[in-house]
Amino acid sequence: MKMYIRAATCISAQKTFESDGFLTDFIEYTGTRLKPIEPDYSKYIDIKLARRMSHVIKMGVAAAKQCLANAEIEMPGAIITGTAFGCMEDTVTFLTRIVELNEEMLPPTAFIQSTHNTVAAQIALMLKCHNYNNNFVHKGISFESAIQDAWMLLNEDDANDILVGGIDEMVDTSFKVLTRLGLYKRWPVSNLQLFNTPTSGTIGGEGAAFFLLNNKPSADNLAEFNGFKTFYGAYESEALEQQINDFLSEQGLDISTIDLVITGRNGDTQNDAIYNNLIIFKNKAQANYKHLSGEYSVSSSFALWLASNIIKEGTVPEVVMYGDINNQSPKTVLIYNHYQAKYHSLMLVSAC
């Protein structure tokens, strides 16, 4: 079975959503947290509804609707989302009120919208879509699980034109807690210098990326989604290379046939060493993306958006290039991301 990426949209800290250029005009930030560029939500959501919606719902709904528009699909065969933290803003709001109001006279809206499946549900509600609707909440592979579900639906011939998204929001509270847990750098850093300042910690991010996946070949498709794989645990370089080689050979490929590797380097010394130590990547053209998106649990959805567009546009934006080897017009792109050295994800996309 073949799976294609018909459309891809991404709301991020860069001009990835409502922009004609492909990362030609990029933004420098200094700090330890990247915030998304907000689109004009009134184009996607009734203003009265939007007023009650948290940031993640708005991002998710806008990215999803634009993805369907780009794909020229009115009604997706299924809606599947991945989100590690779900609706943090509403969760924090409701938790705060429980404490501050001592459990009395609480307004229900924040609770109603705090449910982890809210974004997928709101998309279904707006489209009046009664089809399959699922939501995965598994840390660094939440998005990959959604892809897995879509792949199975296509393979089972139970649905087509499947809308898949990765969404997560960062709120002040989660940023403070995650900072205390040591995830982020202790000093402000320029995102464009992220890989030149190898210290402990990364920069936080958030975003929404949606994809329309189907099994129909078309000249309009962005790319073919050849395969994906996730695995868990701490891996030595050799064992990791074995996993990558096994994955590629399952796809009938080997590392020499990969034109570009997109890695999940995030500026944290220990995190990046895992990529740097892989000998099989040494002579490959490489690209990074987390200086643009920031680190978050479903950031691999940004990477997939990037890979799809690199293939469709036939160009690698200079701002993502890494290392000395260039491949200007890659046909086969491997994404390798790990989340906190525990959740590993491989995705392979190629020109149709």
Binding site: I79, A84, F85, G86, T91, F94, L95, T96, I98, V99, E100, N102, E103, E104, L106, P107, P108, F111, I112, Q113, S114, T115, H116, N117, T118, A120, A121, Q122, A124, L125, L127, K128, C129, H130, N131, Y132, N133, N134, N135, F136, V137, H138, K139, I141, S142, S145, Q148, D149, M152, N155, E156, T173, K176, V177, R180, L181, T230, F231, Y232, G233
Partner: protein, 399 residues
């Protein structure tokens, strides 16, 4: 692709029992698990009944072999997972491709809400270990690591249909040839967050809930965990005992009506039940028992009832909501009720719907009010519907 998926093991822990045998005994003896709140520190303590698992975190931790400092959701999950694996007794499990697909709705919220009190007063305060496992995925990860499962694990959260979706996602992983064995289900512990959340929606009954009764006044929150061990055709042949049944049908449809309320005509429920029948290749007349979602809220039971009426009329199979025993265990409910549905097939029984008195005016049927035995139970439908319009029906079939 078309191979059957069998149920080889069961595990459950709820307010009516710490394992499947205890739950089964309570179901037959009409022993409900609700009572006053004893564990949570809340102003609702003496006002709202809940269905608590009757073990402390320390006791659960000891049974499951985990730290008592973890979220109660992870502790409940571990206990039921261990029971399910032990029940399946699959030889050479370590040589098979084993996955763990779990579900919950609020992750480690029971710990996070403790953290939050101190954190809110001073952002540099609050014990970080209480918030470290806040994510839903952490609940699954803790259990998977303890079991040594790294092939495949993931977590589903679709509100109250979460673990029903986990079960059929697991079955599909087997059907797609990706795994041989999947432990699938879900867990949720009581939390102030959910208690207050449902309370603000004014859908908590101040007395014990009365699902499908004309005078029902809401649901009782419960807690627990339920898991099934799903095996492929190939693995089923190697088992020392006959599998319980097979998962023959499943469907996930969305009501697409409102974030929390069900449509008056029960569109999502109807589509889920209809889709599950189609997947199983069955007619409504083939269904021997429906384990209803039956929360006891005016809205759910009306929508679900109308959907059942539209789909099954004029001949209705026996039906009941076992939430009248366990309360609504949220992310665990789909799997807990899957376990009860499978017990119904195994023992040819239909469990009663407790405290039912008055028929709902809009429905032409009433739920079962007494234990029925010596029936021929071939196919059981189990319904699970949630916020966000997420509706899932599963069908289990005798082999």
């Amino acid at each position: 692709m078309s191979s059957d998926v069998y149920i080889a093991g069961l595990g459950a822990i709820t307010a009516i029992g710490n394992n499947v045998a205890e739950c089964f005994a309570a179901l037959q003896n009409e022993r409900a698990g609700m009572g006053p709140i004893t564990a949570m520190n809340t102003i609702h303590r003496d006002k709202i009944p809940v269905a608590e698992v009757k073990l402390s975190n320390e006791e659960l931790a000891k049974m499951g072999g985990l730290s008592a400092e973890l979220s109660r959701t992870a502790l409940l999950s571990m206990v039921a997972v261990r029971e399910a694996i032990s029940d399946a007794a699959i030889a050479d499990l370590d040589k098979l491709r084993v996955g763990f697909i779990s579900a919950n709705t609020v992750g480690g919220m029971d710990k996070s809400e403790d953290f939050f009190v101190e954190f809110l007063a001073d952002n540099s305060k609050g014990k970080l270990k209480d918030v470290y496992d806040h994510e839903c995925g952490s609940m699954t990860e803790v259990v998977a690591v303890a079991l040594g499962i790294s092939n495949q694990m993931t977590t589903i959260s679709t509100a109250c249909s979460s673990s029903a979706n986990a079960i059929f996602y697991g079955a599909r992983m087997i059907k797609n040839g990706l795994l041989d064995v999947v432990i699938a289900g879900g867990a949720d512990a009581l939390a102030k967050f959910t208690l207050n959340g449902f309370n603000t929606l004014m859908i908590l009954d101040k007395a014990f809930c009365k699902p499908f009764d004309e005078n029902r006044e809401g649901l009782n929150l419960g807690e627990g965990a339920g898991y099934v061990v799903l095996v492929s055709d190939q693995v089923a042949k190697t088992l020392n005992k006959k599998p319980y049944c097979k998962l023959s049908g499943y469907n996930n449809s969305n009501d697409a009506y409102h974030q929390t309320a069900s449509s008056p005509e029960g569109t999502g429920s109807y589509l889920a039940m209809q889709g599950a029948l189609k997947k199983a290749g069955l007619q409504t007349s083939d269904i021997s028992y429906i384990n209803l979602h039956g929360t006891g809220t005016p809205n759910n039971d009306s929508a679900e009832g109308i959907a059942v009426k539209r789909l099954f009329e004029p001949d209705f199979p026996p039906m009941s909501s076992t939430k009248s025993y366990t309360g609504h265990t949220l992310g665990a409910s789909g799997a807990v009720e899957a376990v009860f549905s499978i017990l119904s097939i195994k023992h040819n029984m239909v469990f009663p719907n407790l405290r039912f008195e008055t028929q709902m005016h809009e429905l032409p049927f009433v739920p079962e009010t007494e234990l029925r035995t010596n029936l021929q139970i071939n196919h059981v439908m189990s319904n699970s519907f949630g916020f966000g319009g997420n509706c899932t029906s599963l069908i289990f079939s005798k082999i």
